[in-house]
Symmetry: C2
Subunit: 191 residues, 2 copies
């Protein structure tokens, strides 16, 4: 397999004020909402564990957002992704490697799995929805994508204004985190 991207996550400096211990191998606890936070578009992403903590095996984060539009379709060549809904309702769109498309409205307790190389997107369909995510693969983890395409924040709660990345971020960040946007992609599933 050709690795066309690098995974800088384990080389990033630790976030100031992070509740995640600087030293891997230490047990820790984080209260609700107090993981490493970032704003990206209208959403709040909170990282509770990343590659540094797990020898680059897996990560654990939440995505919270308001009712909104379908996010841009994208694909990961080496990353498997979990969507587990704890609040609200999120419509997940996925295309398998044969081109078959699926969509499903997921509610609290429902689960969706997106394998590598499957284009996908989602749309939050209820305010205050929350998705638990794990996104990792044999090449590593990608939890620092969000704060690099978006912006780290110390705030609690959703962005007061959407954070829209600039052209330079779009041009450089996704490829470093195994994210490839598919601007021409169409969902033919009907919703």
């Amino acid at each position: 397999m050709t690795m066309e991207f690098t995974r800088p996550s384990h080389r990033l400096p630790r976030r100031r004020g992070s509740r995640i211990p600087a030293e891997p191998g230490k047990p820790y606890f984080i209260e609700k909402g107090l993981g490493d936070r970032a704003h990206l578009f209208t959403d709040l992403v909170t990282v509770y564990a990343g590659g540094e903590q797990t020898e680059n095996t897996f990560n654990f984060f939440t995505v919270e957002g308001p009712e909104g539009d379908v996010i841009p379709a994208h694909v990961h060549s080496d990353t498997y992704e979990v969507f587990y809904i704890t609040d609200g309702a999120v419509r997940l769109f996925v295309e398998d490697v044969e081109g078959q498309q699926y969509e499903r409205l997921l509610r609290a307790g429902d689960f969706g799995f997106v394998p590598k190389n499957c284009p996908h997107a989602y749309r939050i369909e209820r305010h205050h929805s929350r998705v638990v995510g794990v996104a990792a693969g044999p090449g590593g983890t990608f939890e620092r994508f969000f704060e690099n395409l978006g912006v780290p924040t110390e705030e609690l709660g959703l962005p007061s204004e959407p954070y829209v990345p600039g052209p330079h971020q779009f041009a450089t960040v996704p490829q470093r985190y195994d994210v490839r946007f598919l601007p021409e992609h169409q969902w033919r599933t009907g919703s």
Copy 2:
């Protein structure tokens, strides 16, 4: 690192009636509660994704149970473990590799992280508590531990009677899944 155990999870036959597709690489969705279920003692464990789905990178499961006693202390030599509470209250006990002990009552939205080689246990302190778990490491994933030490079930809901493994299961299953029970272990944290 010496691998003193084998990880048979990816060689197990697929569960009959499983909502997890037989063929890795396919997207899928599972409604709340309908993952691969097992009973172990008083608890219900539901697996939504395992090593077969992620090239042995990570897994994703829930543990639900009634208010009860502290489970037996145990340790994993090659597995990192996440405890993310979605319902109820769970007290997590962890000892770090220097012998320092911690305990913390986790409620909905709270997170606990147990590195490899850290003895740990938990106690469910409210009925209908639910923990989201990820448990994996460089050697693989361990989600099939529960149905092997316990028993697979098609039922929904908690066990009507506790399922207590027999001596043969205790003697053979834990070591196959990187679980080592610590019968002499004492929690000195006071709760």
